[in-house]
Subunit: 389 residues, 2 copies
Amino acid sequence: MQETFVFVLSLTAIFIFAKIFGEVAVRCGQSSVIGELFAGIIIGPSVLGIVNGLPVLTEISELGAIILLFEVGLSTNMKEFFKAGGWAIAVAIVGVILPYFLGYFTFLHFGFSSSQAIFAGAVLTATSVGITARVFSDLNTLETKEAKIVLGAAVIDDVIGLAILAVVSKLAEGSGVSFSTVANVTLTAVVFLVTAVGLGLLITPSIFKFIDKTKQQHLAFIVGISFCFTISALSIKAGLAPIVGAFAAGLVLSNLKQSKEIKNDLKPIYAFFVPVFFVLMGTNVEIGVFNPLIAENRHILLLAGVLFAVAFIGKAAAGFVVFQKGINKLLVGISMVPRGEVGLIFASIGLQNKVFVKEDYSALVAVIMLTTFVTPIILKILLSQKQKI
Amino acid sequence: MQETFVFVLSLTAIFIFAKIFGEVAVRCGQSSVIGELFAGIIIGPSVLGIVNGLPVLTEISELGAIILLFEVGLSTNMKEFFKAGGWAIAVAIVGVILPYFLGYFTFLHFGFSSSQAIFAGAVLTATSVGITARVFSDLNTLETKEAKIVLGAAVIDDVIGLAILAVVSKLAEGSGVSFSTVANVTLTAVVFLVTAVGLGLLITPSIFKFIDKTKQQHLAFIVGISFCFTISALSIKAGLAPIVGAFAAGLVLSNLKQSKEIKNDLKPIYAFFVPVFFVLMGTNVEIGVFNPLIAENRHILLLAGVLFAVAFIGKAAAGFVVFQKGINKLLVGISMVPRGEVGLIFASIGLQNKVFVKEDYSALVAVIMLTTFVTPIILKILLSQKQKI
């Protein structure tokens, strides 16, 4: 009973704080993710200490990450992915390579090991399409050329990012960095993703056509989420993170007639589990690390500052590969800056696998929060200037 | 990762089997609960052994019980409760007392201890209004006098049942049965329920009026479920089962303008968590106990048989307290027979608190399943006869 007591009360605290801070963030024109992370920092051990590491909460938050990536996959327009066009592909690739190496060398420069640097680089590669898409849609600019390039590039980034994650998290398990391990893991990841997506695309349409005929309410959702869990479990067996499978499952189902129905039924489940994930990510942040009055912290503060600059410039520069007239290159680049949820998942896997200690993790989360925080502000200025012209 | 693997796969198995067996049950005119319990028996250790006692699943199933009772509370029409009228109250009270003592003496007769008998009696007191209401509504007879008496009585049963549960589960913790403990616990339970419901009814309307003004989507739901979790946690602190608090919370919110919205948002959460509860209840059943070829089992089979007779007669007889012309007394009585989910929760708390061993628990679950199984069949016959007249 005592455990249930703590569990139920922790859940309540998570929901209430997530909702309040999420709402404040949204009212300030920010993503609710920022608010939820902040809620986690506040109720976590470094401030109020209401929520501590209860095993069942960790499991629920892992389920949250799986559901989050399933949703990202479901929301991915595969046609957009294939039609993204040359510029989107170019922006995506440069936007992965630049931040990766900038992050890698920054970490090395600050005296971290090469496996830590590899992981930190990976954290910086992700792009959170959600935040950018919301700003574009808020300002009625989703139909502009820039928006289309950015959204296409962000989708490609997700796929590249997950492949990188597969490789990097395998390395983090301690196999050490050698050409053969990298090649091996890359091959596993690619074979797994291609097989899962390929077989899925072959098999699921007939299953879901059958489901459609049964006219059974919510059956599509139950089968969809079971499919997601199965592929996630298989991806664990293949030595990859479960979220890789969850994303692949979402991608496979995104093309179905019932994908909207599945997404709709997923919403309350998402609203229940995903904030637990973000809040728990927040509880792992050690806020004391950012106190500039303590001399040892200045190193971490400097690291966070340099990483932020590097994370910002790396993506912003990627926009300038678009050699096309009439395109606002800065707008494209800056739209790619927010790292959001995918970057967070990378950082949390690094913490779980003990690649990072809490200080490094806190610095990375701060950088992710900052990129997610400043982008909407800058974008709104750029877009309103554009509209004036 | 290994734990996540088992967790995610167990969830998948639970969902798929629950859906398949639940659907088969519904097609056979039965409650999906029967199917879900059966699914649990099949995938549990006594048959396939796919799902074993994983701690995180137990926590999720406890959350399922909390959400289930919250929903029962939300669906309780308090006005109906107060307007139930004399006959409904009489049926409810007799329908609690008769099965309680019949169950109690049956258990004593079979050589069980008095605390086991007290618990077994309590298991038999509950009435599952859901199953009966569905049969009435399937046959378009929800507006008959009988239906109104039955639904009123079932609601009163829920409230009485939870008070009994509060007392009985406290006794099960080993305080022993004495007049002073019973009086003490009854007082705690009554004070807690009255305070929680009273204060809740005072405070919540203004909170929810404010929420209504914010026009924030899903806010009512988030606040509602947080309220449910808070009251559940408080009821644990008061030494009661969390479901007592969950039911009280549902009751408090059932009168609000937003109760429909809350129930609507709760549906997918319910669809996710509650089958886990029923399936896990099923996994605790030891099917081997019912093999008549093994001599030692005959005792349990006989117990289950007698208990079923007693459970059936106890409720059916309660219908005959209605001294009113033109009322089908047998119909009223038999409508009260299904024990359904509330009875199951009682039995599971008995198993958790080690009042019951797996054999007794299995017999009780079998009896609950049987009462839930036969009632729709008999009701349909009775109602079609009535309609012919």
